[in-house]
Amino acid sequence: MGVDLSVEILGLTFKNPLVLASGPAGFGFELQQYLDISRIGAITLKTITLNPREGNAPPRLVDTHGGIINSIGLQNPGIKEFVRTIAPRLKNLKTIKIGSIAGFTTEEWKILGEEMDKIKEIKAIELDLSCPNVEGKRIWAKDEELTQEAIKAVRESTDRPIIAKLAPDVTDIVKVAKKAVNAGADALSIGNTIEAMKINIETGLPVLKLKTGGLSGPAIKPITLARVFRVAEALEVPIIGIGGVMNWQDALEYAMAGASLIGIGTAIMVDPQAPLEILHGIESFLRQKGIEKFEDIIGIAHRGGF
C-alpha cells in the first residue's frame, strides 16, 4: 500500500510535510551537495533583512544539555543583493521555496514584503517575528500589537500567502496567534529558538559573544509542541510546527498536535541527511498503522487519537 505524504495548504501542494527551517539550511545551494532537496516538501530560506548584516561576533554557537544555543544574528546579504544574486538561482532548488524576512521597523516590513513579492520562485513569505539573536532588536512576536502591525504591513505589500513565525516563549500564545490571523496571516510557524545562555565557570563569562542566544534542539520540543497543540485547539489555521524535531517520532508528535507541516532545523546541522530518515520513518509508521494519507493524522490528538 502506498502512503500519500502530500499536504495541501496555502493553495500549494507540498509533496511531504517536511520543511527545512529558516537558518540551518542557508539558501539551500550548499546543502544541496549533501541532501537532495527535491525530496523535501519545502525550504524556508535564510532570513533577509533590508540592509546587509554581518551577524554577531564569534563564538556564535554553544552546545548545552539537550540543545544548542546560537547567536548568529541574521547574517545575510540584504534584500537588494538577495534579489540580484540569489533569487535568479532559486529555480535550481526543486522544491517549494518560502522566503523569510525580518524588519526592524514597520516601514522595513513593508519594503521587504514588496521586494519578496517580485520574486516568482517564492511561493510564500514567512515573517521572522521572533528571532532572539539580534542586539537591540524588538522581538515583534512578544507583543501582540507589534505582531499585528508587522503582518498588516506585509499584507498590504503582497498577495502571496504569509506565514507569521511566532515566539514560543510568550505569556499567551493563543492571544498572539489570534491577532496574527486577524491581521492577515495565512499560516503560523510555531515557534522559534528560545532566549537562553551558558556561562563558562572557569572564566566567569558568558560563552557567546552576544551573551545570550536562542536555544534549539530536543530541549525545546515539549515546550513548542504544547504551543502548537493549544493554538490548533483554538484556531482553524495551518500551522508549521518547528522546534527540536530530531527524528520521525518527534515529527509525528507535531502532526498529531495539529501541525500541517513540520520544520527541521537543528537536526540538519547534526546530519544533513536527517530529513530523509525522518521521512522514511513517517512513511513506515503510517504504513504500519494502515493510514493512507499523512493529512489524516494532522491534529489527531484533538480528536480522541486512533
Partner: protein, 235 residues
C-alpha cells in the same frame, strides 16, 4: 553518517591519538580537511576534527580533551562506535603557493592537519615544528618524531621563538594552533583556523571569520586563510 569504531587509543593526560575503523571509505580526504564526529547522544552536535592520518578506512585523530565530546572520546573503551561525516573544508594544497617549501608550525592539537600534509606532500615540507607546553607529551610520539617537538618546559622557548631562529624569507609558513601563536607569525603566513562549527558545510553560519573581503565561513572557505586577510580584532 559513517559508523566509526574506536580501535586504538594512546593517551597522555589531556592529549591522545585515537584510531577509528570506518565502515565506509571517506571520499578522497586531503590535508587540511576535517571530519565532523558525533557520539550517539550527548552533546547534540557533531564537532570538527582535523585529519591526522588516513589510510585504508583507518582514520587517526590527535585530540586534546576540552569538552563533553572529547571527554567522551577519551573515556570510551576500544570498540565504541562514533559517527562521522565529511571530509569538509578546502584542502591546504588548493590554497597555498606550491612553488615553495614550507615550515609547518603546529601548536597542541593544531599539529594534526600539518601531519597529514607532511604525509601527503613531503616534497613541500622544509621543517616541522610541533609546539607543546609540557614534556609528558613526548611519550605519545615515536622516536623519529621526537626532534620535531618543541617543548616550552624543556627549552624555555615557544614554537614561535624556535621558528624565528630557523626561518628565512624564501620559505613558506603553514601554521595551525592557538590564536596567540598564529598572531605572532609573519603576515604572509598561511594559518589554519579553529572555530565552533554547527553544520560544517557552510549553511548554518556559526563559524564566521571576518576577512578583508567580508564575512567568510571557516568550514567552507577555510580552514586555511592568509594571515593578512583576517581581521584579527574580530576573533
Amino acid at each position: 553518517m559513517i559508523e566509526a569504531e574506536l580501535i586504538e587509543k594512546k593517551i597522555a593526560k589531556d592529549y591522545g591519538f585515537f584510531k577509528f575503523k570506518l565502515h565506509k571509505k571517506l571520499k578522497s580526504p586531503d590535508a587540511g580537511q576535517f571530519i565532523m564526529l558525533k557520539a550517539l547522544d550527548e552533546p547534540i552536535l557533531a564537532k570538527p576534527f582535523s585529519i591526522y592520518s588516513y589510510k585504508n578506512k583507518n582514520l587517526t585523530l590527535f585530540i586534546k580533551r576540552v569538552g563533553r565530546l572529547t571527554g567522551k572520546i577519551f573515556s570510551s573503551p576500544i570498540g565504541e562506535t562514533f559517527y562521522i561525516r565529511g571530509p569538509y573544508g578546502t584542502p591546504y594544497i588548493e590554497k597555498i603557493n606550491k612553488g615553495r617549501k614550507y615550515i609547518l608550525i603546529g601548536g597542541g592539537s593544531g599539529i594534526a592537519p600539518l601531519n597529514f600534509f607532511s604525509e601527503l606532500y613531503p616534497e613541500l615540507v622544509y621543517k616541522k615544528l610541533y609546539g607543546f607546553r609540557e614534556k609528558y607529551i613526548r611519550e605519545l610520539f615515536e622516536e623519529e618524531e621526537q626532534s620535531t617537538l618543541v617543548i616550552e618546559e624543556e627549552s624555555g622557548k615557544t614554537v614561535v621563538d624556535i621558528f624565528r631562529e630557523v626561518y628565512s624569507e624564501e620559505l613558506g609558513i603553514l601554521a595551525c594552533g592557538p590564536i596567540p601563536m598564529l598572531r605572532n607569525l609573519p603576515h604572509d603566513s598561511y594559518v589554519s583556523l579553529e572555530s565552533v562549527m554547527g553544520c560544517g558545510i557552510g549553511t548554518c553560519k556559526s563559524c564566521a571569520v571576518k576577512t578583508k573581503e567580508g564575512i567568510k565561513m571557516v568550514c567552507k572557505d577555510g580552514p586555511l586563510f592568509r594571515k593578512e586577510e583576517i581581521q584579527w580584532e574580530w576573533i
